[in-house]
């Protein structure tokens, strides 16, 4: 099997074999299933969508029904090598507190989120005067689950304030753009922000 989502392809390269992994908002279990087979990780996914939970059970991914907004108090300090959260940070009530929790439970964490400073978003807002709707941000402003949109620069500022160390940064684009500009100006040309962070 292979990974379809571009952010997952990048993330899997940062995972060490035999890691203990917690995947927050694990969806259909695509990442964990891949990591179990290719990196022999032992992991759990947290998810609240009933159909996705059933899919995880079907593919043999350990899945636990748990609302991320309720926190991670049932997991012990530093009990995982890696805590992953892909494209869910922006949908949480308090992304900052979740990052604190992720780094309490895990030695490292990986987060991905849509970059709101992506040039298409800027263009959309600047020219149309409307909240951007795109492939990575498909919702309208009134029904979007994405209540805390941010940018590469915003995230790095948060890490600085909270003294999180950024170990890796990558840029994901839905159209697989590998333009040199995305590396130099990720905040402008990166559609998806991918970070590996520790304390």
């Amino acid at each position: 099997m292979s990974l379809n989502r571009p952010d997952l392809k990048i993330i899997q390269e940062w995972v060490n074999p035999n890691d203990r992994v917690l995947d927050l908002g694990c969806g259909n279990g695509e990442l964990l299933s891949y990591l179990q087979q290719h990196k022999q990780v032992h992991g759990y996914g947290l998810e609240i969508d009933p159909a996705k939970i059933t899919t995880c059970v079907s593919r043999g991914v350990n899945v636990i029904e748990q609302n991320l907004d309720d926190g991670l108090s049932n997991f012990k300090d530093q009990s995982y090598d890696l805590v992953v959260m892909t494209q869910a940070l922006q949908a949480l009530r308090r992304p900052d507190l979740m990052l604190e929790e992720m780094l309490r439970v895990g030695k490292e964490c990986i987060v991905t989120f849509p970059n709101f400073a992506y040039w298409r978003c800027r263009f959309y807002l600047a020219l149309k005067g409307e909240m951007p709707v795109s492939k990575s941000l498909p919702h309208t402003w009134y029904d979007t689950p994405n209540i805390h949109l941010s940018t590469f620069r915003d995230f790095e500022q948060l890490c600085k304030d909270r003294q999180f160390r950024i170990l890796d940064r990558a840029v994901g684009n839905s159209e697989h753009e590998t333009h040199w500009a995305t590396r130099i100006w990720p905040n402008l040309f990166g559609e998806l922000a991918i970070y590996r962070v520790t304390r």
Partner: protein, 385 residues
Amino acid sequence: MPTAIPEDSVGIVEPQIARFDTPLELACGRTLDSYELIYETYGTLNAERSNAVLICHALSGTHHAAGYHSMDDRKPGWWDAYIGPGKCIDTHKFFVVCLNNLGGCNGSTGPTSINPETGTTYGPDFPVMTVPDWVESQRRLSDYLQIDVWAAIIGGSLGGMQALQWSIHHPERMRNTAVIAAAPRLTAQNIAFNEVARQAIMSDPEFHNGRYAEHNTLPRQGLRLARMVGHITYLSEDSMGSKFGRDLRTDKINYGYDVEFQVESYLRYQGDMFSGSFDANTYLLMTKALDYYDPSAEFNGKLSDAVARARSHFLVISFSTDWRFSPARSEEIVNALTEAGKNVCYACIESPHGHDAFLIPNERYEAIFSAFMNRVADQTAGGVS
């Protein structure tokens, strides 16, 4: 009565009896020298004997989990919604075994059986059973049936406790465990409800210290009350509300103490049905087994240490309106399993039916239960592990 057996039913089934003459040492310090277990099986055991599934029953359950004993039966077995051809526990794939626990009153040796030492019924002299005692008796039934490794051991409520205990005590003899609407141990509130039930039985003048059989009578009233109290805890406030509301049996209030509200009538009916068919000493014994169960007790209260020996894949399921064993109780089990690094999936199913939800058809419950059982079947067939 079924006019015709439904296609997804296991059909007409016949209980079997296994006799054991090796003394069974019990947690209470006493020994049962010989005993019988009544059980039913559905589906076919494969040549490798690898597709067997054990069903453990709850407080008032029996060995009759699926199908019909005769065309005159009013209802099928207690878990017929989930056991049968094409159902979650698919009898096309699995050989399903369900027994009546020791101390029961449906055919396995229990308080209503004859005590070989006295020649009369055991009555209150039947030893108090514990969940580990039951698991040991079930382990012997496995040997008797020549099932070395169960594909899965499954139970709801008190049955879930037995499944959990199996996974801790005989990890090498099972591959999967499903613990449904259960708890790792009772709370003070749970024990309190059980005590009210026991007091109702024991304060019935016909109880005669449990020797009612010798007096040719039954503590019907006490058992009826016990069941009424128990039944309230099996339903949710919402399900009672939507089923009965404040509906009256007649069109006006009578300012008296006869049955007036529909819910009173329902509870009395449930109590009457139960007290006519269940043994009071068995009820006392079963509630005690519930009260005593605590696998973490030997591990300084650490459930994660208790489950450390387990090897199976777990499915833990709770129900949103269950307040007898609330979702938080299932989550205690899940947290212990994740802390111990065990393979576990957990879902809290939306249902209005309270604790009873584990017996009732529910689309999401069926979907996840089937997904889990399909994995079990794939392993059994030598596929993915």
